[in-house]
Symmetry: D2
Subunit: 354 residues, 4 copies
């Protein structure tokens, strides 16, 4: 019933507005005795932060995480882990034109209607700045389930798709280019597309694919906490996400059972993996893979007609420093939420057999 919480046994609760004093969160249920590499946490945050390359927003935010509790002498103590990221680059004047104006396809209107008021500075709570909190928690979760490899990457930008199946890809290439597509040739085309779009003052969508490998068999609860349903909910929580599919996904809806069934090998693995590593909501030990659709960022550098809170027509001009395509910066966010979901089920699974 906590609206700002994610997870069950491993639970993240967050706070923070885009232009408030700080954002942050509390990670509850993290087991005691885990040695934490704080540098690795900051490194994940740096993958998400603005200003890291030419194809993302040029805002400069250091996004330095401070841990306030729960880690002592380099180890988790089993108590709740509080953390905070100060907002240092709050150019509120960038947003002053939004005080009263509803930006199209943003959350301004719905927040005002739901709550009767809103913090209009930079989107307030609806800003994707919140996802920095998720990256912090996900980075800790990754360290808890270090035996599981989680790799997300940009699989399409507009109509440029990475055609190779993920099995033929070297994930170590993902961080070697600004768009985070592990296929260098495709990455180049994606980057060119994003630059072109930015020049036009427009934005574009794309997709991220995520693969989790070495997942133990048995994660997931089979009725209302199916592994893939929790992953789907997690991904649909990311700003701008419009769709989620795993395994065969929407293509599976066009197939026959005789084509789609994954036949077993003698060791319990399967010859194909259209199931995407999950059967009946429970991991089967095969690779878990899924794809997430991101719409184009709503803030464009063009004039748009809109209304204000009095219902008067007005024009909104694109200002501020925004991402022409959200996908590259969303890659670490997808990984972080995947880690949180898997770590939660990993803990839960310790309690399911007598």
């Amino acid at each position: 019933m906590a609206f700002n919480s994610f997870g069950n046994l491993l639970k993240l609760t967050t706070f923070g507005e885009s232009h408030g004093i700080a954002i942050g969160g509390i990670i509850d249920g993290f087991p005691a005795g885990v040695t934490i590499d704080l540098g690795a946490v900051q490194k994940e945050l740096d993958r998400r932060k603005p200003g890291q390359s030419k194809i993302v927003t040029q805002r400069k935010e250091p996004d330095t995480v401070e841990f306030l509790s729960g880690i002592f002498d380099g180890k988790t103590t089993g108590t709740s882990i509080g953390f905070m990221i100060k907002n240092t680059n709050q150019k509120s004047k960038d947003y002053s034109h939004n005080t009263n104006t509803y930006r199209p396809s943003h959350a301004d209107y719905t927040y005002d209607q739901k709550y009767g008021l809103r913090d209009y500075r930079g989107g307030g709570r609806s800003s994707a700045r919140e996802t920095a909190n998720w990256v912090v928690a996900g980075a800790l979760a990754k360290q808890l389930i270090a035996h599981i490899n989680i790799n997300a990457f940009t699989s399409s930008v507009e109509d440029i798709f990475m055609e190779k199946p993920y099995q033929d890809i070297d994930f170590s290439n993902t961080e070697s280019n600004d768009v985070r597509c592990p296929d260098p040739e495709t990455a180049e085309r994606m980057i060119a597309k994003i630059k072109e779009i930015r020049k036009a003052g427009d934005t574009i969508g794309g997709t991220i694919t995520c693969v989790a490998q070495n997942v133990p068999v048995g994660l997931g609860e089979p009725i209302f906490h199916k592994l893939h349903a929790e992953l789907g909910k997690a991904m649909l929580s990311i700003n701008a996400v419009k769709g989620f599919e795993f395994g065969s996904g929407f293509c599976g809806a066009k197939m026959k059972g005789s084509e789609h069934n994954d036949l077993f090998n003698k060791d319990g693995s399967t010859q194909t993996n259209l199931s995407g590593g999950v059967q009946g909501g429970i991991s089967n030990g095969m690779d878990i893979y899924f794809r997430v659709a991101f719409k184009p960022v709503a803030t464009i550098m063009q004039d748009q007609s809109t209304i204000d809170s009095d219902g008067e027509e007005t024009t909104i001009s694109g200002k501020g420093r925004h991402d022409p395509c959200v996908v590259p910066r969303a890659v670490p966010i997808v990984e972080a939420l995947t880690a949180l979901v898997l770590a939660d089920f990993y803990l839960l699974n310790k309690t399911r057999k007598s």
Copy 2:
């Protein structure tokens, strides 16, 4: 933390195996004083039940719901509503061949690995029989939010798609044919396809589209309980679902911001609705619509090679009475879960403004 529970303020908790004594559930948090039309509940169950037409499984199960508590003199009392559906048609011999054999792309293997044992009769807890419980709860939820219209329908079967946009469709046609596609001509082709597939002893997938109209503005919690994320999780909980998209969905990932943004009318409605009725996780009063992908049913009437629980290779022959395409019977399930999600947020929203 309840693995068999769905929802927050309005909470459904369920039990039951396919071939046990009964399935059932408890609906908690339903407000007092709502007059319940029990006939309408049974009618929803009848839409889901086996044997209702020639293109679904020919198993005969009456699926009669008995309410055990929480309704008195025709009204809800505010206490928990217990209900039960007895399993009357338990032909366990149909399944005896599965005792030890893992059916491909079923949950037999993962249950065994997770729990160390399983109720192998008819899939046990992993059977889609569980969804009858959801239909009961959803039928009550529909009565709580009777002002919202929820209409799901079959939008594709294999590669046969209903091409018309839902705005041009008369939903009252949905129940007029066996496949539950509101476009009569498309429905006919879908039915022919399913009959052909059944004859071949095979199965096929498809998609369901769902539209919720007259949704009040303000439903949904904006960070981890986004309206569309909860809908996505709900849909991904249905057996055989592989994907979920809302509004522009995966197509949105190929669009530009200048095309995708929904510009406002003076009354706060929008000229287009690529957002799918949700902005920032909160309903904006426009139609909510989403699409759900179902893989082909894993049980086919053909021989398949597989393994048993000792890792020995064996052959499994298709037996029992199964659906060649799960989509027509899933239509009321999609509606039921949609109603549960919306009703939960409807209650929650009563607490969000002072």
Copy 3:
């Protein structure tokens, strides 16, 4: 957020009115692979049931539990365990005089005010009949943590107190008399007192003490799920309970620190146990013991002036078959809830160390 649920990892959700068709519940999170002794479950129910002796209500209810799911071939399967107890002895006419009349110190008035209506038959949901559900769940929990010994007993009835400390008592005597006081001489006096009170058409209160032994060190979460706080909440959930104290309890409030501190032995045990087996909300391996106060049953066999739902004065005459003292039948209820709390923390504790 489920109002009719108890517990976290091991969760009981219940339904049922006193005079409805059935009461029952769902036990969620019970680990797979536990061999269940169904006879032992029924035996616990029999300890609670009406009509078992001359000093309890003479209503006859067989209270037979039926398990509907989650147990297969004598073992738990890890899926939710549904169960039901049919209401067979629904003498609604006994209660017809209450339709409109508010019984003093009952929940009639508060239910009506809260919900706008109520199931007036026999107290409906507010009846202590609900506790039969708890005994079922507790009996399963006892089998999960069979290494822990839980013994409750009647420690006072009105002003008759069992003076001996529990350490000097043989718990095997508890079931040897109708009042469930393990000291035979005190038991006799208590029984005489209850008979005298019944004859006067009156009721009396009393206390139950509960001792849990062989509790592993480390159960309990130290901030908001302290072991003793959960036990306290559990006990205060039992109908008629007015107080809870553990360890030194209210006496501890009159002591000095130098008297109250429990000094350690070399093995980590303590020389005294005023702490009651819990330090900082976490079990320390010593005996957990606590005391629960029950008020006299509100239904007395005497005329009382009261009001009806229109605010008119009226007289209510004691009718029906009620307990002159609730304490003897509450002993198995106290044990059941204690088992549920400890089993929940036992499961939880599997996740707290890496």
Copy 4:
């Protein structure tokens, strides 16, 4: 399932160790549009803070709360409210002697056993410093339910009891003396007792009584979230609490039904109030009152024999600046938790009738 969370619709999640960088929390579910008096929040914190009078610990901690989110232009926005209290007076050397030594009747031993390690500085997470977080959240809750009056006070210190019933007491006297007993004469005797105990290097226990007035009828959920059970759990969460009773409490266990029943007036109020304002777990509009027992503080200024983490015997000398009696500083904590419980049920109750 969050171990560091309290409440349901209004949920507080906390973090922080006694000698870490900061303590703090997140308040989730607070409705939008409530004007917040920040000065009133700080004033509550000041009532709890150390060094405020001669009979409490002489540690000096300013305990200044900083709100980080969720309040904008003086009003709540409906988003999560993050707050922080920096630890400014971290004299860790005061505690260096405890690194390895288990203080009797503290949580050192149980934390070490449960988690395998602990933050030994000043009790770490087990320190009552955590309760400052609760006072912040409770102060906000008080403003949400400003129509309800909540007054706690010291009702006994060791064997000095305030004999007058609370009805005869002027609560405005509570803050007029250091011990927070609203009866001036009794207060004086209590203060003298505490001074005497402190001089002896010892500590003493006591009780707090709390009264909530103008509580609307209908708060509380009748089975597992009974109003008094949640209050009891809340109180038992406070460090050093050993018992809780409401209404007639343990005295009620010695009474007859004919004496104990509260007869109705025509307006639904009752002539007596042994029920303590709660019937069937639901508030009935009468005063809610309860009593909480605190044991003597475990840290005494005397030598005690104990063991270290290797099981070796050692002596611990009382050092640091501690409270001789925890009761006066606990008064605002009792009020804060009461406000949180009532505010949570107040929100919840908006959803219980159609």
